[in-house]
């Protein structure tokens, strides 16, 4: 039996994004350049959602910076927002941080993971040695040092997203998500940590919907189940999709130039970027036309 009556969990971009309310705590996949749910992020911006708290990373990228630049964000929970070799600090993040426009929960990758685990495991806090004797307690009212049996620890509170958006290589119609075989990550993923900590729906855009049989054949590759699924090829552009496509560094440079101009008091270029790539296109297909098929082709990884 292949679950004749089993409910399929495929949704439209609109259905998916309508689930985000102003002020929500939103978890986003995206480690550095890889797997940001950009198509969904751009649709969130088009809907002009406001006051979001973004939980992304552990070290975030353009998915978070674009939302900040578009004015959708009030607070970020991340160990950093950067574009690797392109620029060590993402422009909108830096600008908002320096102007005080957003609150930043100052954490590192371990603390970020533990805060999500505390939520997933129903713990009121987790005591952690990493980060003691640093400025983190000075910067976070809710990340204080405590002493237990003469040892000092950071008291890490739970962080619980209301909704999570991911981009993955493959999913089946029942919401089983998996990485490309070529990009197997080992035993812990930010994506899984976000999904397990989430109190609400988990939505994933994927490069390709695969038959359930394929998923069943390799259960060890499924890392999140029961998600809502949207098939959005190139849905991570300009980011890469692990094992499927590499990031579009030229696009990152274009975005960064616009962002840096805005940071230095010349908002026009950043607005132009938003018009061209976010507000201009009605949907993801239009966006991909603006980017261009040849460009996208050049980013595809050869799949073994």
């Amino acid at each position: 039996m292949s679950g004749e009556n089993r409910r399929e969990r495929v949704v439209s971009v609109t259905e998916a994004v309508t689930l985000v309310k102003d002020g929500a705590v939103v978890g986003l996949s995206g480690f550095s350049y890889q797997n940001p749910p950009m198509a969904l992020v751009r649709e969130i911006i088009r809907r002009r959602v406001r006051d979001l708290t973004i939980v992304s990373g552990p070290t975030s990228g353009i998915e978070t910076d674009l939302l900040i630049g578009a004015g959708c964000v009030r607070r970020v929970i991340t160990a950093g927002v950067a574009f690797e070799k392109v620029i060590p600090i993402a422009p909108a993040f830096r600008r908002a941080a320096e102007s005080g426009a957003i609150d930043i929960w100052e954490c590192d990758e371990c603390i970020w993971h533990l805060a999500l685990k505390a939520a997933a495991w129903g713990m009121p806090h987790i005591l952690w040695r990493g980060g003691v004797a640093t400025s983190l307690p000075e910067l976070n009212r809710d990340l204080q040092e405590v002493e237990v049996d003469g040892m000092r620890y950071l008291k890490v509170p739970p962080v619980q997203p209301d909704i999570v958006f991911l981009h993955v290589a493959e999913a089946d119609v029942f919401g089983n998500l998996r990485m490309a075989r070529e990009a197997y990550l080992g035993r812990s993923f930010a994506e899984r940590a976000l999904a397990l900590a989430c109190r609400g729906p988990v939505v994933a855009s994927c490069e390709r919907i695969v038959p359930n049989d394929e998923v069943v054949e390799h259960p060890e590759r499924t890392f999140v189940r029961g998600a809502l699924v949207v098939e959005l090829p190139n849905g991570s552009h300009p980011g890469g999709t692990s094992g499927r496509s590499i990031p579009d560094l030229d696009h990152y440079r274009e975005y960064t130039a616009a962002g840096e101009a805005a940071r230095k008091g010349e908002p026009g270029r950043y607005q132009a970027y938003l018009e061209r790539y976010v507000y201009g296109p009605d949907n993801h297909d239009d966006y991909l036309k603006v980017v261009g098929g040849a460009r996208l082709e050049s980013l595809r990884m050869s799949v073994a």
């Binding site: 089993r6 999904a195 890392f223």
Partner: protein
């Protein structure tokens, strides 16, 4: 009287009727009864019910001890579609859509009036542990954090059903409420009857056709509401019986050894 396996098949149907389309049902070792019920429910009214396996892949999701057999993957394939993911047991505390489970089957040496279960041991006259039980195994945390655990017993005796358990491995309704835990046991099934809970106390819902209300009361170590008569447990329907043939092709339910007579007292 009843034929071998009749009681087990009846109880699989009784439990299946309690399972919901949105449930995640988790299994430990020897959960054949719940596994059968979940597979039944998937076929009859809960196609989206999810089976979660705390165990190693080779065990698979079929009914019976496939874990340690060479052909483990032979029969499991058809059913393993519901266990695409290898679960991490600690996710039992998660409230996310990826939470470990809602329903878990719990048996024990003793079960008491409020639905507390004892797997640890029986105390002697001196108040010290006299008979050692299996221990907390995978049950305590999962059954504590699952919102709707289901209790079962392979027999029905005053030794099993006591006013108060000697040790608590899984808390019943009052203890859970006191600790701020959500939910509690929704059902308790035995070879003689089906019990549920009202105001934190066990009560009779139905008595199986092959026994009597008096027999059930006589074999229960505490008074069971209601005082009046109790309906007979509805036997398997045609569609339930057909589905059982499919999910239990090897007739393994009959091998569970439930005591249709209620067992020795």
């Amino acid at each position: 009287m009843s034929a071998p396996g009749d009681v087990e098949r009846l109880l699989a149907c009784v439990i299946a009727r309690e399972l919901r389309d949105t449930d995640i049902v988790a299994f430990g070792l020897h959960a054949e009864l719940l596994l059968a019920a979940a597979l039944l429910a998937q076929r009859l009214h809960a196609p989206n019910l999810v089976l979660r396996h705390g165990l190693r892949e080779e065990r698979g999701a079929e009914i019976g001890p496939a874990a340690w057999t060479d052909n483990a993957r032979s029969r499991t394939h058809e059913l393993i579609e519901y266990v695409e993911e290898h679960d991490v047991i600690l996710d039992v505390a998660s409230l996310s859509p990826m939470r470990f489970c809602d329903v878990f089957l719990v048996g024990g040496m003793q079960i008491d009036r409020e639905g507390s279960v004892n797997l640890i041991g029986i105390k002697g006259k001196d108040g010290r542990l006299a008979v050692r039980g299996p221990g907390s195994i995978g049950t305590t945390s999962i059954a504590t954090l699952a919102r709707r655990p289901i209790l079962f017993s392979p027999d029905h005796t005053p030794r099993r059903f006591v006013e108060r358990v000697d040790y608590v491995s899984v808390p019943g309704w009052k203890r859970r409420a006191a600790a701020g835990l959500e939910g509690g046991p929704i059902l308790c099934v035995t070879p003689l009857a089906v019990m549920d809970f009202a105001d934190g106390a066990m009560r009779l819902r139905s008595v199986h056709g092959h026994t009597t209300l008096d027999e059930v009361r006589r074999r229960t170590g505490f008074p069971l509401a209601p005082d009046g008569p109790v309906p007979v447990t509805p036997p398997p329907t045609k569609s339930e019986s057909d589905a059982i043939e499919i999910v239990d092709p090897f007739g393994r339910l009959a091998g569970l050894g439930f005591r249709a007579d209620g067992g020795d007292q």
